[in-house]
Symmetry: C3
Subunit: 425 residues, 3 copies
């Protein structure tokens, strides 16, 4: 063997070393960042390169969308070998859709493209401008405020209590992430981490940061969001967050059902009160249907964790969200089963609060605060279930949370008596 | 001849075949689209490649503009061998300018660049923010609303009648097209079609689509807009559209004249009423001139088609717009003959309505509705006339519509008596 | 010598000729322009290529930033061999930072990236949306208006006095420059000029242009802004401008001081009045500190020029701004010494006016007008001083403007008696 050949062999070993997972350091790649300034217009990696010993063929692809109001929107698709998740850094790290076999978490919004925030004027239409970009499977509502538009107080630059018009569901889903990074564990189970930082911070305003991490293990049917909301300012700061998860056809259909153990269910208004006993079941798309919103106080297990689940009529497909009630004590169910062309959808929305205007929520004690430098950590686990067996298992787990362990085809909680209800504004 | 040469000859024939127009399938090219996501930053085609048998050398060029607030704005120039049309997909498929010889359809707006909609806040300046990008030859006003800003009612997400502040002339001219496509007929007269889709649709709002097609035949002095406004929602939907065609120097000058057969002319306000008898003639630029607006009910021919025309003092250049009064029953003439540096311009504006606030137009029965799935089709033909002979022919055609067939240098209609006038709000 | 070598020698001479400064024509390069449309995504030049005989190694670099809300923001770094200036054409030709040795002119705003104007809604938060992008060392406030948000009158399109909600500090710092050009003198001292045009002009609104020129001489510790504000309209036009220069750590610290000769100092409100006698000195960062604003009428020299200066406690670093009181008669000192994480900063802000709402300033006679075609020229000179010797020299120059020539460690002017004060709104 000649020296040069030996050298090449050595070089090969060195190159293979990290890719072979012999090294425990996770693979890391910064996709975009403001500091130092960078952005991969297109980027891709996959199991072959990063975790060659992993049994599941996973891949991650960053791309930039084109055309109309989605020109320049950034998108990351994560395929874990079983499930495909579409993330949107440009829209506050929201999740556009998730797909696994027959389970497709998405809805057919009248908004057909992924709208760049540059086209959103949150204040338009009396504070409802947020709707002009709304088509995610899951977007966050917050951070300074969420819920209905309307007047609320704030402290202005000269230290005086002043008024501003809050806009529907706040800003965070229309703020591009300032830092997006991929990490993949080199050791089994080779978890994939997509990290993002979204800033909602400025002078004389909140100094809130959302640090989000989506974690998905190759081959699994679940994924996690591990969020941290951090007050980087020197002053106590209110915040609000609702995770607005939206389910449309095909999982939403006539006879579909939400299963969510709750100690209390309140209708949002008189219109919702009329159908309180049907808060958890769905009809077929109906032109002209006006939204009905229900405000739940979920029931937790011994660790104060809870799960909400939606399944189709035949128990063939389902999806669940699990979280800690210490982190997100409230759950809103949004029934918006209008015509397909108008956006047939239901929302399952864990949050720090209900979607009233912040002034209402503050009065009700549902607007938490963060001390200077303090963080709130929130972990949500999403599960997808394809086929009767998987759906039944998932339902059994949820029903173990209910008071009486009802059969899976009955409502998981007792419906509150109508005389207990007082519509909330 | 050797076999290889024969093969090359055959290959040539095959290659020529589609380009030679032996194939009747139109040439098609998608310039940009949201689905699948694509966008040609630069693209060009021409008669040589597509219609080699066409006598007229035409070309189409898509480019992307740079600098200041026009960075990223998309533009398509269509030259039909005689006339050059500049289209702007980024600004709702508006027409920036048209030129044919001495006829130049454009105006010198104080806005000097093609402003990207990202810089427009329609709500600014009391709802007049639209003006900060306004410099097109022809832009559309609509679709949910157009006309003056001010409060009007709408139905909000919880199904209640609510109020919103309408903004001047609505959104459509600041929404980028979601799909832009070129088609060219392979058979004479080799018409060029530029198709665009502009979406004004979202949850709890209108689900309106503008499907527009600009059609121009190589070598001709006219072009057509074939628009379709489609209600894709499940509910009845109001809509409004005004085609805001704007004429500045050189066609607009002292002694220029609008010729438009009308059965009624109303001044927009007291200020316009003062000069009602001069609604159709123009003065030289005059610093401090305050706009005067006239509301016409046009007169149609036996097919209910009408034409409005503008010509310079010497009858050397003219331009016309023809349309069906079944589609657009009203015509607004906007005289804004201030100083050149302030935007010396007149608007000839066929529409479904007059440019009052929508609440006023609704009360007057001038806000049409589309049923679920219904479309309104609108066709406008623009003509350009260079030289006395062409202008006289065009005028004769318009005058044939008038009651008494006046000579071309007299007003084409009888001016309504002043006592018939009641200023409209 | 062979002919070919001779030719190469000749070619070299030709190539060197313009670069060697034998030609007196300045070097010119258009970085971006709307007409003709162009934009260098990246561009660089330096002394070696342009002024090889210059003793100082200077360079200019244009780049485009990436990530989050700074995607697409354009930046020009000018290094004159001693001092580095970061300009931002996208944010109205503002100056992000200046650095020379230990002197660093910048502040740590809670806004961490250079925010593209597309993300700024000036009207948000009750007209305080400007703050969501505010992190420059120096930005301009204007041109139609600046100062506090609130209702003011304007003339609308139909010539009527109407009302609009002014937004904090106007639009100009969120308007990208329409033309950016570099010029470098070929003769000593080889001054570098960065020219920019920012348009604030539209129909039925102001037709104001900002023509700005930043001039810096290689090797020097000063730079100039030569601005022209031009009314291109045919009508008289109000305008306002404040140069909002902001100083944070390290020059701002406990014991730092502003030195500004003034004939009058007024507190902005009661809160500022409480500490009037300390208007020129600074404390350490203090969580919860509410801004205090002081309104100065500066004193000029025989040419009506004045200088304001800030220095650290130990007189080791300082910075000054000099200008003509004929051009900018007022000076605002903004003390905002809250916690470091909240944006510890002071503003030294020469202007045509104080930062009250325009309606207040108009009533006080501090809103100037430009006749049709008229310009206001404004020249500001910024100086940076590193080390005790330089700082003392600079202070001596400023103190020569004061009434009594106090020692450098005493207040440069007599503080007005408290009974002279009436808080301004």
């Amino acid at each position: 063997m000649k020296p040069s050949s030996k050298f090449i062999l050595l070089l090969n070993s060195l190159l293979i070393f990290p890719a072979a997972g012999l090294c425990d350091e996770p693979f890391r790649h910064v996709i975009s960042s403001t500091s130092p300034s960078r952005n991969d217009v297109e980027w891709r990696t996959s199991s072959e390169n990063v975790t060659p010993h992993c049994d599941h063929h996973w891949w991650i692809q960053k791309s930039t969308l084109h055309g109309g109001r989605q020109e320049g929107v950034e998108q990351i698709v994560i395929n874990n070998g079983r499930m495909e998740i579409v993330l949107c850094p440009t829209r506050g790290m929201g999740i556009m859709s998730v797909r696994m076999g027959n389970v497709h978490l998405k809805w057919d919004s009248p908004v057909k493209e992924v709208v760049h925030p540059q086209y959103i004027n949150l204040a338009s239409r009396g504070g409802l401008g947020w709707l002009e970009g709304f088509n995610e499977f899951m977007c966050r509502c917050g951070l300074e405020n969420n819920g209905h538009p309307g007047t609320d107080k704030f402290v202005n630059n000269v230290g005086e209590e002043s008024e501003m018009e809050l806009t529907l569901h706040g800003k965070i889903s229309n703020i591009p992430a300032s830092h997006v990074e991929v990490a993949v564990d080199r050791t089994a189970p080779y978890a994939i981490h997509i990290k993002g930082l979204v800033n909602e911070r400025f002078l004389f305003g909140p100094k809130l940061e959302l640090h989000t991490e989506l974690i998905v293990v190759p081959g699994e049917n679940t994924f996690q969001l591990k969020d941290e909301i951090r007050n980087t300012g020197s002053q106590e700061q209110e915040f609000q967050i609702i995770y607005h998860a939206n389910f449309g056809s095909p999982i939403l259909q006539e006879g579909a059902r939400v299963v969510a153990p709750a100690t209390d269910v309140q209708p949002f208004n008189d219109h919702a009160a009329k159908d309180l006993d049907r808060w958890h079941t769905f009809d077929a798309p109906q032109a002209g249907f006006v939204e009905q919103v229900y405000l739940l106080t979920p029931k937790g297990d011994q660790n104060n964790h809870t799960t909400a689940l939606i399944h189709d009529k035949a128990f063939n497909t389902a999806a669940s969200i699990s979280w800690s009630l210490n982190q997100l004590p409230y759950l809103t169910v949004w029934k918006n089963t209008g015509a397909s062309e108008d956006g047939y959808v239901t929302g399952i929305e864990p949050g720090t609060n209900f979607p009233n205007n912040r002034s209402v929520e503050r009065a009700a004690g549902r607007v938490p605060k963060l001390a200077a430098g303090e963080s709130r950590h929130i972990t949500l686990t999403f599960g997808l279930y394809d086929g009767l067996a998987e759906v039944k298992n998932a339902l059994t787990a949820v029903n173990s949370l209910t008071l009486s362990g009802e059969a899976i085809d009955s409502p998981p909680i007792e419906v509150p008596k109508i005389d207990r209800l007082k519509p909330r504004q």
